[in-house]
Amino acid sequence: MEIEETARGATTPALVRAVGLSKSYVQRAPFSQKRFVIDALVDVELEVAPASLTALVGESGSGKSTLARCLAMLEKPDGGETWFEGEEISRATDRDLALLRPKIQMVHQDSAGALNPWFTAAQIIAEPLDIQRRESGPMLRSRACELMEEVGLSANWAGRRPLEFSGGQRQRLAIARAIALKPAFLILDESLSGLDLSTQAQVLNLLLDLQKAHSLTYLLISHDLSLIGQVADSVAVMHRGRIVEHGTRQDIFTNPRHAHTRELLNSVRLVESSFRTAQAGGQQ
């Protein structure tokens, strides 16, 4: 397995490449001259290999979401370059962006907030198709139903509104919307946080199936190392706006180099080992 992974990394060019990205936020309190400067991203370098699942892990406040937003072109970084499919996109014009957006899609953590509560499921999925004029009329609805079935939701529920779905089902809906335009790159920003273990497993399996079927490339952002350890090909660790370590899953988990990575792994280790101890003696 490792040989295949490193070989892939060596020969195929990266689908997405961030070079020296930086972004800061400035905030000012109303009656004073005091300014708070937050360095969200500091000289970030990241590569995502095609058809892989790259995980971006870090604590809250480490800058993962900011990086995601910059890669999804929802925000402009202050400095650095972003390359997609071999082309530099950080200076893209609005025209170019319009062509580029269908290829890069994002699934957010808060599905209830990311989906319009007034729309039906079919309308939510059909929206990008409609805006990009991929389909029209009755074809819109039938394509939306197809996508619903593909993510494991019954097409009978096409008329329901997001709040009538459970958390896991809503995430499936968000995923259906994200793959509607057949993107090449899907960013999952903490999309699995806050879900039950069994729902998480089901949604992850769905994502793996979709990846095989559509040759998708994933950037999975999470603070949960145990989760990432189950599915990632390569892992990038973020801490205070910087990428402190980046390697294959095997490397990171068995041979972490940076102190922060070791710290993150330790807490996972503790929880897992007490669980294993409790289970010791065999089951079934």
Binding site: L204, N205, L208, L227, V231, V271, E272, Q283
Partner: protein, 334 residues
């Protein structure tokens, strides 16, 4: 070891036949809790393990009388010889925060954004000990120190948005402990929390159980958190208790098929980092649906790998296979 093992056992909280049915538009017709029985002894740490929809949050809210007024509640909740369900609102106020306290999931949301954090803890003290005005500030400072906070002056005067996530969690726990309650209910306190802070919160809760002897009811969906932490675990599914027992025994030898399935879901990334890529994860098939609620048999039957004919025609009764354990299944252990 937890406080429970050094003190004499006596049931402090005992719940019998608790059935809760929400009413009102948009609510389902099946009960959120069905005939729930269990006991909590002084100083114990009990984990309530279940997924969304299992009724665990409803259980937590019903112990504190925080369900909407229109909810149908049957059964008894005895706390130190008092039936809590017979209390009126002012009776409840004497219990909440003073004898039974709750730590909410997101402390940032559980605190008022426009009041200083120290004042909010003082409010809890004031509600239960109206006379001791002058010492209140010292008590608040003491409770903040109890949870391991160091820059107490700064934190006392701060508003929630000025504190970090870790500090907020500790403040929420300090607030719950302020009146030294007998039972603390922690409702998924580590959901969506980073790994390092998760460990800190668990350590803190364990510490307070040891130091103050308060019983802890820890509600969660993640079995891994209860290992090495809780004394007993109660598994809930669709508003029913399906299994109960000491944590080490249940995890070593789960009896109910749901428990077995749930335990298999716990990630073991560190043990098998070389897992072949793209391999699917183990998952429980299907999900709880309305037809399950309508079926005359076991509610878990449609998802159960050990299902037999009797499971679909009759609901399983409770079985006590050994001391301290119980399970609701016809085919337990298979």
């Amino acid at each position: 070891m937890t406080h429970a093992q050094s003190a004499p056992a006596s049931a402090m909280l005992s719940v019998h036949g608790l059935t809760v049915q929400y009413s009102g538009a948009g609510e389902t017709s099946h009960p959120a809790l069905l005939k729930v029985d269990f006991e909590i002894k002084r100083g114990e740490i009990v984990g309530i393990l279940g997924e969304s929809g299992s009724g665990k949050s409803t259980l937590a809210l019903s112990i504190l009388g925080l369900l909407p007024k229109s909810t149908g509640i049957a059964g008894t909740i005895r706390f130190k010889d008092k039936d809590l369900l017979l209390l009126n609102e002012s009776g409840w106020r004497g219990i909440r925060g003073a004898r039974i306290a709750m730590v909410f999931q997101e402390p940032g949301l559980a605190l008022s954004p426009v009041m200083r954090v120290g004042d909010q803890i003082a409010e809890v003290l004031r509600a239960h000990r109206p006379g001791e005005g002058k010492q209140r500030r010292q008590q608040v400072v003491a409770s903040l120190e109890d949870v391991g906070l160091v820059q107490v002056e700064r934190i006392y005067k701060a508003y929630p948005h000025q504190l970090s996530g870790g500090e907020l969690h500790r403040v929420a726990i300090a607030q719950a402990l302020a009146c030294r309650p007998d039972i603390v209910i922690a409702d998924e306190p580590t959901r969506s929390v980073d790994g390092t802070r998760q460990a800190e919160i668990l350590d803190l809760l364990r510490e307070t159980n040891r130091k103050f002897g308060c019983a802890l009811i820890f509600v969660t969906h993640d079995p891994a958190l209860l290992a090495g932490f809780a004394d007993r675990v109660i598994l809930m599914y669709a508003g029913r208790i399906v299994e109960e027992g000491p944590v080490s025994q249940v995890f070593r030898r789960p009896l109910h098929p749901y428990t077995k399935g749930l335990l298999k879901l716990v990630p073991t990334a560190l043990q098998s980092p070389g897992r072949p890529r793209g391999q699917r994860l183990p998952a429980l098939p299907g999900s709880l649906s309305d037809s399950d609620h309508l079926s005359p048999g076991c509610i878990f039957a449609s998802r159960c790998f050990a299902r037999t004919d009797v499971c679909q025609s009759e609901p399983p009764g409770e079985v006590v296979p050994e001391q301290g354990r119980r399970v609701s299944c016809f085919n337990y252990g298979n």
